[in-house]
Symmetry: C2
Amino acid sequence: MDTLNIAILGCGTVGGGVAQIITEINHDLSIRARTNIVLKKIVELSPSKASERFNLPLGLFCGGGKDLTGTEANEYIREIISSGEIDLVVETIGGKSDFVFNICLDILNSGKHLVTANKALLAERGKRIFGAAEAKNVKIGFEAAVCGAIPIIKTIQESFTGDKVLSVSGIMNGTSNYILTQMQDEKLEFSEALKLAQENGYAEADPLLDINGGDAGHKLILLIKLAFGIDVSKEDLSIIGIENITREDIDFASEIDAKIKLICYAKKVNGDIYATVRPMLVKNSNFLSDVSGATNAVRINNQYSGVHFLVGKGAGSTETAMSIVSDIVFIARYGDKIQNIPVNEESNLAESHKFVFPYLISFQTGNIPGTTGFITTAIGNQEINIETVSHNRHKGEKAMFSVATMPCTLGQIENAIQKIRSEKPGMLLSEPKIMPILY
Amino acid sequence: MDTLNIAILGCGTVGGGVAQIITEINHDLSIRARTNIVLKKIVELSPSKASERFNLPLGLFCGGGKDLTGTEANEYIREIISSGEIDLVVETIGGKSDFVFNICLDILNSGKHLVTANKALLAERGKRIFGAAEAKNVKIGFEAAVCGAIPIIKTIQESFTGDKVLSVSGIMNGTSNYILTQMQDEKLEFSEALKLAQENGYAEADPLLDINGGDAGHKLILLIKLAFGIDVSKEDLSIIGIENITREDIDFASEIDAKIKLICYAKKVNGDIYATVRPMLVKNSNFLSDVSGATNAVRINNQYSGVHFLVGKGAGSTETAMSIVSDIVFIARYGDKIQNIPVNEESNLAESHKFVFPYLISFQTGNIPGTTGFITTAIGNQEINIETVSHNRHKGEKAMFSVATMPCTLGQIENAIQKIRSEKPGMLLSEPKIMPILY
């Protein structure tokens, strides 16, 4: 039987989970891979902590188990990259720094396969990484980079090859979903729910990338690449986070049988790709509304096979590590026959003001007769059909105005708001919130 | 670029869908497969009908488009099997007859790959089929055989290789799920809902295999083979269909916030496999309770990555065909590196009376004081903890007695019922229904 020698860079939550699984079920993995899967070396700054947490022999760690300085760790990484003995490197350091970027490039350039959960790096600097792999005919496993344990990468790459993806959407950030679920179920304000998420280990000390939609955006960029074959940069995507969602928004969603979820959404229409990450009102009749807490869910709509849902753990130690280990087995099995990413296709990313959805628009107005007529006329003048209007939740001189529209573009809505602003300065007493509605 | 020449046997709902997809997106498929995918021949008794329905040129059909007798069709099938030109055969005739069994064996023995949706054949006569493929090192694609469009086969075979499956369960028969959904939503009796399913094309003229759990059993046998590596025969499985579910059962389920679903369930406990197909009470808090109509859903619980759900179309023309076409691309990509089924593992199928679940037991009794005390004592004497008891829904002299238990074995419940029967003949006025409860 052949042998596949593996090194792991970074033995934290995910890397440690990989080492744990490879150690615990090594015999099964080797049988499945028809290749001896051998974990040779781990580079980690604090081996004793990792060894204890993941029950790993200290001898596996470069340096024999003693704590490493950054310089020492870097030297061991360089040794692994230049070693002829290692076939595959698991990069679980994370981040998109030049340091990690160069390590990944050098791994590939040295003719070694790379398996990683690093969504930021692949989404923002993936072109050169995938290019290097192509040039050296080595493989990149990145199942763990999108939605942790959910096997969405291989599902698109290997199971939907007999179809055409029409749209990809879903709940792809567990932290923001946990926060929104807490706001909904426990009647918390955003800041209270965020604090709870941090206390319970669902949010990083710096949760910015989770709550501003950046992390979800990285995943969507990778899914767009796989499903539609085009490269999208983060700057081109229309990304809105959950920072400005209030309890009042959540309560109002409940009133119309909906929940607010941070949704990733990409759809191909006549060759154009519409893509966005933003809070949406998900009707309770939609499957995604049931996805609560740290769970992730991906919805794929295909031309021939219709709608699919994949639901599972979007993060976690062995949960994410499982995807990395499965990638290792896949590379052991199929090696150079694997195509890392699909061939580029001709498509354009459409501008966000062209997105067609039914929308909910809400803002504060004065509690003044004539308001409803003026606003609904301005909306109607933009050829937008209105489904429901409410002008209520009065607070003193103010009231909340909410309009649910039939499908229209964001551009039409922005025009209507512009008209109201120019013809009735002072009618809008708050910045309008515009959220797509998913039925 | 290499070429993969394909023949399709049977151009009905599924086979026609395969021909349609291969024809419509041939260029994409060939790029993805890095192989020219060429549909060479179709054998079909009524080509003109199939040609019209799936928009296929008559020239693709053996015989040039004229209707074939059975003998003529068989001769063309033999020609294909002995042809050196065909690389892969799609068998979409269906059924487990000797006729189809021998065709599949001969395809494999002639060194050709086989792709099929034939769950009955693979579940009941699969051992020799897979053995023949092994002997000739050719591949069998059977993604379409389990839950139509849901990519559950490849998910277990290729995406969960870094994990250990603990349990597989789900709703795997769309017809019975449609019938149960109609009984629930439209307040229909079983026979009315079945008639509606047939009128709307959700049930075959002979729906026996759908409603008696046989079709779901075939799928479970294949999933047990993939997830746990053991061969199970249909006779060994404990299979109960939905024929005896009444509106009263459905109504009672609603009262306790549950829905009745035909559930496939297989779980590994201490090396033993527990497996069954039967109606279960699925609590509304469980994701599976939302899966209605013809949709299928599979739940996988893994040791390292926890719970996954895959939801999608369990049947249909291009829906099922998509899985076949994806198998063709997979075989074109990876050819002889593919492992058809996992290596056999040591496991025993446990007997059904050892199944541990919380159960609901319900039967009619006389409306007689002392009944509740006697029955609950008999149940308690079997070391079963009771969660709730109700003795209501009185009809004249009769009343419905229902007990929800804490987790216990079916054997314990059967002992309790046996005791009640022997000590109080006449107390049970109907055959007890015993349904597991899924929380």
